[in-house]
């Protein structure tokens, strides 16, 4: 027995996770942190729906309501959906390409801790005179007029967590380009890996404009510059452009991995290879590319003029084509298959009509002249919840059930999984379908209340009741996680029985070095190919040898923590607090000190020797 799998106490486990550079453990960290923020954002959503359940409600005040909607949007996008998607990318992508880890394990950990501390910093705003209140888009004129420190928390928190995301994206790009197993050509990569690849490219190009916008706003608010101060010759429309040049690709950053997860689920549970694989890859790349060409459709009513509006309208419509290709390919993957309706498959099948509804309203919104009516109304709220919840959140639920055994070695309960599904599915449509009509009837979005007598009462109440069902669904899922973790029934390599890609060739959870010997990939759905030929596992592409592994390190945590401390100093420096500058300096010293330490200390990692690997084998023989 090797020393790596011994039972450990809580302190040791905690230390293990604080210092880990293993992509599988980082995935668990992303899952826990993202799950936590998902619950926080969900609670904020519930507060919104309580406030809007009846007209003239005073459950929360107007100002607090604006803080809640801002934090709901920001939390869900940056701190819940993205990290949860990152969790699956981290957990699965290296396994899918047959790699032992990502290209830069240390940087991977750093990316997580930056996101985490950025998110914590942002949420601490609740405890220091108020959260940001200018909407998740934080349009400059309102953001500049916002009192208190909410916007500063937003600006600093998102810079820190955005840095983490950017680092993560670059890491995935390098990993996929360089670390594919022998035989894993680009056109043999599983679709989830492809979407991770395109998503990472989007992150690489989309996050810098956001950072530029945030830095400009930081300078305006902290150092009195005038980028967005109209009276001094500044321009607030520039913020809108910067934000949406990031913001539109951002929604593809979320939805493409969701597409990837579903592209894994349909073939697995239909026992059929993905229909039109190459056109799926092409559509993914095309969506990623077009994603950068359409940002101004969020600004149709800003007054850019008919030429810009017409061009962006047509470009936006064009995105409907590759997305449509995907929908039909998924349906024809199932067509002629042998379909087993497991929990992940429930989510995947429900995703098609739900996302389609969001997609068609997307095309409707692209009709610029008609968008003047939809823009900033509940119609838009309904639309983006249909694509983000019906697409991304469904994928996260599906992925959680699908990959839970791979990540934790035990299955989630299928019955409870289906209960979660039905509660959430019914609640979701109940909450959001009616909102299309609220928008068309004249209800603007981001309103903290509405007056009676405008025809909004019944529909808002229905919408709020739907939110109850969604909440119940999430609660059942949390219960499911707890009871199955307590029971902890161990499962084998391929718990679903029909796994097709490399991750299912490995034990659940995989050993920390993933592959004892790198596998030889002989085609798309590499593991499926071997299974069909009656083999139990992958053919190795190399003889058994020593494996070089990186050492754990606390430094990523320390680097991120330093920035977290420094951000407090920077923020309170605006109030001329005497302690703020020392805090800023101490924080930066921690960060740069840790980086310096990392640079000067030679860390060669360690080797797992051939003999130990063989011992592992014998162990297993005994157990089985």
């Amino acid at each position: 027995m090797s020393t790596y799998a011994q039972k450990k106490g809580f302190g040791a486990t905690l230390w293990d996770f604080l210092t880990t550079v293993d992509h599988k453990k980082i995935a668990i960290l992303y899952l826990i942190a993202g799950g936590f923020f998902f619950v926080v954002g969900g609670l904020e959503a519930v507060f919104i729906r309580i406030q809007l359940a009846v007209p003239n409600n005073d459950f929360v005040s107007a100002g607090l309501f604006n803080e809640i909607i801002t934090m709901h949007g920001t939390t869900m996008i940056f701190l819940a959906a993205m990290p949860l998607v990152f969790a699956f990318m981290n957990a699965v992508m290296p396994l899918q390409i047959g790699a032992r880890d990502v290209a830069f394990p240390f940087v991977n950990a750093l990316g997580f801790w930056l996101f985490f501390f950025g998110g914590v910093f942002l949420n601490l705003s609740w405890f220091f005179d108020g959260a940001p209140d200018a909407g998740w888009t934080s349009y400059a004129s309102l953001a500049m007029a916002s009192k208190g420190h909410g916007i500063d928390f937003y600006v600093l928190g998102l810079q820190i967590s955005g840095l983490g995301t950017l680092i993560g994206g670059i890491n995935f790009l390098v990993t996929i380009i360089n670390m594919r197993a022998p035989g894993m050509t680009y056109m043999r990569m599983p679709l989830f890996t492809w979407t991770t690849f395109v998503t990472s490219a989007l992150i690489l190009f989309a996050f810098p404009p956001l950072t530029v916008g945030l830095v400009l706003m930081m300078f305006d608010r902290m150092f009195g510059s005038n980028f967005f101060v109209t009276t001094m010759g500044g321009n607030t429309v520039i913020w809108e452009h910067l934000f949406w040049i990031f913001g539109h690709p951002e929604v593809y950053i979320l939805i493409l991995p969701a597409f990837g997860i579903f592209s894994e689920i349909f073939p697995i549970f239909s026992r059929k290879r993905l229909f039109g694989y190459s056109s799926m890859v092409f559509a993914t790349v095309l969506i990623g590319f077009l994603g950068f060409m359409v940002w101004a459709h969020h600004m149709f009513t800003t007054g850019l003029g008919p030429v810009a509006n017409a061009i962006f309208a047509v470009a936006t419509m064009a995105i409907g084509v590759p997305t449509g290709i995907k929908i039909f390919n998924w349906l024809f993957t199932v067509w002629g298959g042998s379909v087993k309706f497991t929990t992940p498959m429930h989510w995947a099948m429900a995703f098609i009509p739900s996302f389609l509804a969001g997609g068609v309203t997307g095309v409707m919104l692209a009709v610029a002249a008609a968008d003047y009516q939809y823009h900033d109304t509940y119609f838009v709220v309904a639309h983006f919840h249909y694509v983000i919840v019906g697409g991304v959140v469904f994928a996260i639920f599906a992925g959680t059930h699908l990959y839970w055994p791979k990540m934790f070695g035990t299955m989630l309960n299928e019955t409870l999984g289906k209960i979660t599904f039905w509660l959430f599915f019914v609640g979701f449509h109940m909450t959001f379908f009616i909102q299309h009509f609220l928008g068309l009837w004249g209800m603007p979005r981001r309103v903290f209340t509405y007056l009676p007598g405008q025809g909004f009462e019944t529909s808002n109440l229905i919408s709020s009741i739907g939110a109850v069902f969604m909440s119940l669904g999430v609660i059942v899922m949390l219960y499911n996680i707890i009871i199955t973790s307590v029971k902890n029934v161990k499962v084998g390599n391929d718990p679903w029985g029909d796994g097709r890609t490399l991750e299912w060739a490995l034990p659940s959870p995989p050993p920390f070095y993933n592959f004892k010997q790198l596998p030889l990939v002989r085609g798309l759905d590499a593991y499926w190919l071997e299974k069909m030929e009656g083999k139990k596992g992958m053919t190795p592409a190399e003889p058994l040898g020593d494996i070089h592994m990186p050492n754990s390190s606390i430094l990523p945590f320390v680097i991120a923590f330093g920035l977290f401390v420094a951000a407090f100093g920077a923020l309170f420096n605006m109030d001329d607090k005497a302690w703020s500058v020392p805090v800023l300096i101490i924080g930066l010293l921690i960060t740069f000190g840790a980086m310096f330490l990392r640079s000067v200390k030679d860390d060669h990692g360690f080797h797992i020797h051939k003999e130990e690997l063989m011992e592992d084998d014998n162990d297993k023989g005994v157990k089985a």
Binding site: P306, I327, S338, R445
Partner: protein, 351 residues
């Protein structure tokens, strides 16, 4: 038989009322278009909805078939199909055609709605209104007529009305849902567009449309409503003439109102003007013009137009519009508020 017919009739009425209620209120809903712009937009909505319903039907049929037909019955391994070029060409080409069908009217409507050329023509008799949005109220200036009003936009029906939009503080968005789509009031530039108010539809809406701010602008964003009073061109001309007649602040009639006027002149007139020809530069007008306050439809855009509500508003504006800029800028006793209320309610220009 007869009973059955009666039931049928009732159910038809039930469905009809359901459909009608499904279209929202005539003074507010985009689905009850009351003018050329809203009509164009409604037509586009219908066109895009029809096309999309077609797409949904196709997907739904395939979806139902795969849900029903291909459930796992035995342990066989289905044929591994790579794809089909023919099918892929079909579902690439047909959507492109559908989108072209949608793109052409979209582009044409976008240009039509942006056509404000009559505004810039010399000696044009087009009615132009300057809209200026403020935290949380609206100012409407008629530069050709030389009058300023606030909160209640007064417009003639059945002709194109042109708008210049700008904001004084943060970004807002000017929206009269039943009459046409919105346009933002930016802080740095003037946006222009036009609307047309249909007289027949306006009658259905009681000649009063609801207007909304559609861009998050702070705590009272939800309460930044305004109203649009529609009238025939003749009535509109009369209204303009009546407004212009008020050259000097009108002297209040009753004793209590006169006391109110004195208080107003001390405490309120610094921000609120009571003559329509406002000499103050637009940027410096800090509060709504109250020349015809007694004839408005709402107080502060949201409260009923009654003395009781006006007193409530003057006593504690923060309660009814959190974050407004009037709170704390004056202090009046209850008695003074009664007097000011009487004075303000008497501010009428039309007999």
């Amino acid at each position: 038989m007869k009973r059955l017919a009666k039931w049928r009739l009732i159910s038809i009425f039930a469905i009809l009322s359901l459909i009608l209620s499904g279209c929202g209120e005539p003074f507010l809903s985009t689905l009850r278009p009351a003018g050329e712009v809203a009509n164009m937009q409604y037509d586009l909505m219908k066109l895009s909805t029809f096309i999309m319903v077609g797409v949904i039907l196709v997907v739904a049929i395939i979806f139902v078939i795969v849900m029903v037909k291909f459930r796992r019955k035995d342990d066989r391994i289905p044929k591994q199909v790579e794809g089909s070029h023919k099918l892929e060409i079909i579902w690439t080409a047909i959507p492109i055609l559908l989108l072209l069908l949608l793109a052409v009217p979209t582009v044409s409507a976008t240009f039509k709605l942006a056509d404000v050329s009559p505004m810039d023509k010399k000696d044009s008799d087009a009615l132009v209104i300057n809209v200026r949005s403020n935290l949380y109220w609206w100012e409407f200036e008629y530069p050709g007529q030389g009058i300023v009003t606030g909160q209640d936009l007064v417009v003639p029906t059945d002709e194109k009305v042109y708008f210049n939009l700008i904001s004084s503080d943060v970004k807002h968005s000017f929206w009269v849902p039943a009459v046409g789509g919105k346009l933002d009031t930016n802080t740095e530039n003037v946006n222009k567009f036009w609307l047309e108010f249909d007289s027949a539809k306006a009658k259905e809406a009681g000649d009063l449309f609801y207007g909304k701010c559609a861009e998050l602008c702070g705590p009272s964003h939800a309460l930044m409503d305004f109203k649009v009073k529609t009238m025939s061109r003749d009535d509109f001309d009369n209204w303009v003439a009546d407004m212009k007649d008020v050259e000097e602040p009108k002297i209040a009639e009753t004793e209590s109102a006169q006391r109110g006027q004195e208080i107003f002149n001390k405490s309120c007139i610094g921000c609120h003007a009571v003559t329509p020809a406002n000499g103050t530069p637009p940027e410096a007008r800090r509060a709504p013009n109250l020349t015809n306050f007694g004839e408005r439809s709402r107080i502060a855009g949201v409260l009923d137009h009654s003395e009781e509500d006006l007193k409530k508003w003057l006593t504690d504006p923060e309660k009814y519009k959190p974050g407004n800029l009037m709170t704390g800028s004056y202090s009046l006793t209850e008695e003074q508020i009664n007097d000011v209320t009487e004075y303000l309610m008497g501010l009428k220009v039309q007999e």
